[in-house]
């Protein structure tokens, strides 16, 4: 793997060529806020814009999203300039106006000294409450889980993740990966009496034969068995009691 030297906020690090700026920064203890990026998901990132930083290269400066900007030889990144701060505040202010219910965004904004929004706050109709339409959930479902149960529907201000026709999905396995990945906690996953509810559908859970805890949806077991040929009895016990 080719290594390059890259400078972030005045410190120089050795990094794998083409790795994204965000990861290199985080590995070295430099904080850049991010929402829509997950290092496990290739198709994620580039949507929320909170990770904007200055990239100086070849005598030119550009504002780029750190989560999908590749590190190259001689790249110098600045994450804490007045310009970056101003732009970041602007992005957060817009996000806050869009999803006033999101604690995650409120906290991120507060860290930038932002508590008030100059724009009319979204009233949260259309179930948009905490969703910033970053598509991380649909990317996870497609790329990591491989189920493609949800997709980003509509466009513009109405864009949101959904199952086809907003009906309970025929293919969703109830794994909850989408809810887990969501940066703002916008996807509700509820569990009660051994039944998990997500995307408007109920999933009976398998109980661990030792401790009795419902720990995985039956549909997810079916899916794994079908896909990997693993023995079904493997799922009789939860990971703690295997």
């Amino acid at each position: 793997m080719e290594k390059v030297n890259v400078t972030i906020d005045g410190r120089t690090f050795e990094a794998v060529k083409d790795k994204c700026v965000l990861e290199v920064a985080h590995e070295n203890g430099i904080y850049i806020p991010s929402l829509c990026y997950n290092s496990e998901v290739t198709s994620s990132g580039g949507s929320c814009r909170v990770c904007l930083v200055e990239a100086h290269q070849g005598g030119r400066m550009r504002l780029v999203t750190a989560c999908n900007y590749p590190v190259r030889k001689g790249l110098e990144v600045k994450t804490d300039t007045p310009l970056v701060r101003r732009i970041r505040r602007g992005v957060l202010e817009l996000l806050m106006a869009r999803v006033p219910d999101s604690e995650v965004i409120r906290e991120m904004a507060a860290a930038e000294g932002l508590t008030e929004v100059r724009f009319r706050e979204d009233t949260g109709e259309n179930e948009r409450y905490k969703c910033i339409a970053c598509a991380l959930c649909t990317n996870v479902c497609a790329e990591v889980v491989g189920v493609y149960a949800i997709s980003m529907i509509n466009r513009g201000a109405d864009k949101k993740p959904a199952t086809p026709y907003l009906k309970p999905s025929d293919v969703c396995i109830g794994c909850g990966a989408c809810a887990y990945a969501c940066p703002t906690g916008a996807i509700t996953l509820k569990e009660k009496d051994g039944v998990r509810r997500i995307w408007g559908k109920d999933f009976p859970m398998v109980r661990c034969s030792v401790c009795g805890t419902p720990y995985i949806p039956e549909a997810q077991v079916d899916w794994i068995v079908k896909r990997t040929g693993k023995d079904r009895s493997f799922f009789d016990k939860c990971p703690d009691h295997r």
């Binding site: 493609y148 509509n154 026709y165 293919v171």
Partner: protein, 153 residues
């Protein structure tokens, strides 16, 4: 609408690639005046493309409708120029006379009423389109006559 043959007839005309999807959806739209749910499901089966992907396309493109549409489409331009020249009144008149709300379809399936934002003919404002035929300088008092004359009812 449960007969899959009517969808297969259209799907068969295309190559089995993701690039064909939009063209097929457009053909559905032309043939059925909307994209039926069963059509999306069948297309997903035959092309082996997730239903969620095709459904997303259906919600994204303005040219596709997921609910049944009328045999005729009336579009009232509500862009800036047309708005100033009286589009709101034209729209209200059509809503009242056809007993339909904007973006809705009349009960008899005859007309769908839509708003569009500037059709690029501002010099003729206010503009009303009946099945893609442009009518410039429409007046609210005359708009029903124009519609009747064109569709011949």
């Amino acid at each position: 609408m449960t007969d899959v043959a009517q969808f297969d007839r259209i799907i068969e005309r295309y190559e089995k690639t993701e690039e064909s999807l939009l063209a097929i959806l457009q053909d559905f739209q032309r043939e059925f005046h909307y994209v039926p749910e069963e059509g999306i499901r069948r297309l997903s089966e035959v092309m082996e493309v997730p239903e969620s992907k095709i459904y997303a396309m259906g919600t994204f493109y303005k040219a596709l409708s997921l609910t049944p549409r009328g045999r005729h489409t009336i579009k009232v331009c509500t862009g800036t120029a047309c708005h100033l020249k009286g589009a709101p009144l034209i729209l209200e008149t059509l809503e009242r006379e056809l007993k339909v709300k904007r973006n809705g379809t009349t009960e008899d399936g005859e007309f769908t009423l839509e708003c569009v934002n500037c059709v690029g003919a501002c010099a003729m404002a206010p503009v009303t389109l009946v099945d893609e035929v442009y009518h410039g300088q429409t007046r609210a008092s005359k708009v029903m006559d124009i519609v009747k004359k064109q569709v011949g009812s």
